[in-house]
Point group: C2
Chain length 340, copies 2
């Protein structure tokens, strides 16, 4: 298939043709071959004008919190409302082991076979930065194909939550009802990323869920993530803007899903009107560009023959306190300037 | 003065000779001239075997918290105990304006004229990374000259606290007694860095200070920075290690300074014995090396003629969503590879 035929099939193909074209496009984007990469960049540039119209929703939570169940219920609800839903995954374990925390084939049985849904597992190798890049690009392909809600999910492990928050319009953190009993379980850094905290399995223990909701809310206030005076109501002032909320639901029983989506819609309306959504996307795009530049510079540095020759010894000398770190850095940078 | 004479004067000079040699060495290290930089690296390498024996204490707090008063009282106390004290400063405002939050000439009047103290203000220009590098290097010069307590102070603004925690053995956060009334004032990120929190001006309002102490301690517990079961006592178990504490003092009235130093000494003993101090220094040295390498790579990238030509336009296209960030990054990296 030619490049332009592939673009056309992604943009306008009928159900099964489009689905195959998306898979083919993403496979091309994930390829590490240099000639593929050049084609992939052309493809991305051709698709880009057709992207950006979807709502990008990030969802994170520890294993067992019920992400798959929730995303399936949410996805089916959204399809019923007329949306098309893509679900992408960033699995940080895949970058280490090639294995997969999230790769369970039985996940989202109903959603995965629905013709208005597209589910793609995590790229199965590479650094987290590389995996995140592939997922961002896959997201653009899905948007060009007309999926208007893109869900990017990850487990609450490592830096993957930062990566997901950095590519989505809204970041949702899922918690279990016992979260309030042990606030240590709520990582500060992740809390700062959360636009919405969802307490799932709220039906298991209503008291615990209520307690968790109050305690997470008070922790967010304590650390200035929400306004002191702010309850669950959103600001009514002239600078109408979203403040993080904590809500309860039960994905298994389908309870609270409509309320969840109402909160998302309110977020989108407020942050769209006040310009924060557009600013967030612009910031994300530039941060992404610099992140990839940094990664590229570092990779070229580490692969440079002179650097590879010197690095082990200088690292040892710095670690043992026999060479100043700044001197070692200057020597290594100078080594890279001497072309092999 | 020859390089070896300068090294000798720093290591073994009499009071005034040594003081002039330190100043001269630090000026050399701060120079941006390439030939000076080569000499500076030689100097550092010659001094390095004589460094590492000082205790490195980082102190941070907002303007008005009483850092200067505290450091003067502490410095004089330490001199009385037989120590020699160097005080270095990282002023993040100097990297923007060349001005100085901390440059007040009337600061530490008694300490600054004491022959067993050496006080050096912040390097007055450069990026924060550059300023931090100069300060690290100045610290090594002071250590080689036999100062056995090096205090690095900064104001609680921007990233300078991370920089100071990254070059010291122990990081102390100073707070006002009303801190507990508004925990938003306590930045989460900084709290994580703190090995010890000091509530200064505790004499102003004993109730407020006690409340602040309890609330900061409970916030630290809440976020898992100290063990739930842990009071103020340190661990007695087999893995004896330091847990962050919160103490009160009044620098103005010289109250609590001996207790402060006792806590520092206990920290040093525990973390020295369990190996964490050595591990921290090794980690810092390697992180410093990579931080300088990253800065150097980024600088060379931004200064490359082809990159400078392309960057403004590609940045605009990425910001406006007309070019994928990853494509822009690849184009810019490729441009750098085409030698001008």
């Amino acid at each position: 298939m030619s490049q332009s035929a592939l673009v056309d099939a992604v943009l306008h193909g009928g159900a099964s043709v489009q689905r195959r074209a998306i898979a083919k496009a993403i496979t091309l984007l994930e390829s590490t071959r240099a000639d593929h990469r050049a084609q992939a960049d052309e493809l991305l540039t051709a698709l880009l004008p057709h992207t950006g119209k979807a709502f990008r929703l990030g969802i994170s939570g520890v294993p067992g919190v019920g992400k798959s169940t929730f995303i399936e219920v949410l996805g089916l609800y959204l399809i019923e409302q007329g949306h098309r839903v893509a679900v992408l995954t960033i699995d940080p374990s895949s970058t280490v082991s090639g294995g997969s925390i999230l790769g369970d084939k039985t996940r989202m049985e109903k959603l995965s076979v629905h013709e208005r849904a597209y589910i793609r597992p995590s790229p199965s190798s590479g650094t987290l930065g590389g995996v995140a890049e592939k997922t961002r690009e896959a997201m653009l392909v899905c948007e060009a194909a007309g999926y208007d809600v893109v869900i990017v999910e990850t487990v609450g492990v490592g830096q993957s939550e930062t990566a997901v928050a950095g590519m989505t319009d809204m970041f949702v953190l899922m918690q279990l009802p016992n979260a309030g009993d042990d606030l240590q379980a709520i990582k500060k850094g992740v809390m700062e990323l959360a636009d919405l905290v969802v307490i799932n399995k709220a039906d298991l223990d209503a008291d615990a869920a209520r307690r968790a909701q109050a305690q997470i809310m008070s922790a967010m206030r304590l650390f200035g993530l929400v306004n002191h005076a702010m309850g669950h109501a959103q600001a009514q002032g002239p600078d109408k803007q979203w403040h993080p909320q904590v809500i309860q639901l039960s994905a298994l029983h389908g309870k609270g899903v409509a309320e969840f989506w109402a909160a998302v819609t309110q977020y989108q309306a407020l942050q769209g009107a006040n310009g924060r959504l557009a600013a967030r996307r612009q910031h994300q795009a530039l941060a992404w560009m610099w992140e990839r530049i940094d990664a590229g510079l570092k990779q070229a540095f580490r692969q440079h023959p002179q650097v590879r020759e010197l690095l082990p010894q200088l690292t040892r000398e710095v670690a043992e306190g026999r060479l100043a770190a700044s001197t070692a850095a200057r020597n290594l940078l100078a080594a890279q300037d001497r072309r092999a």
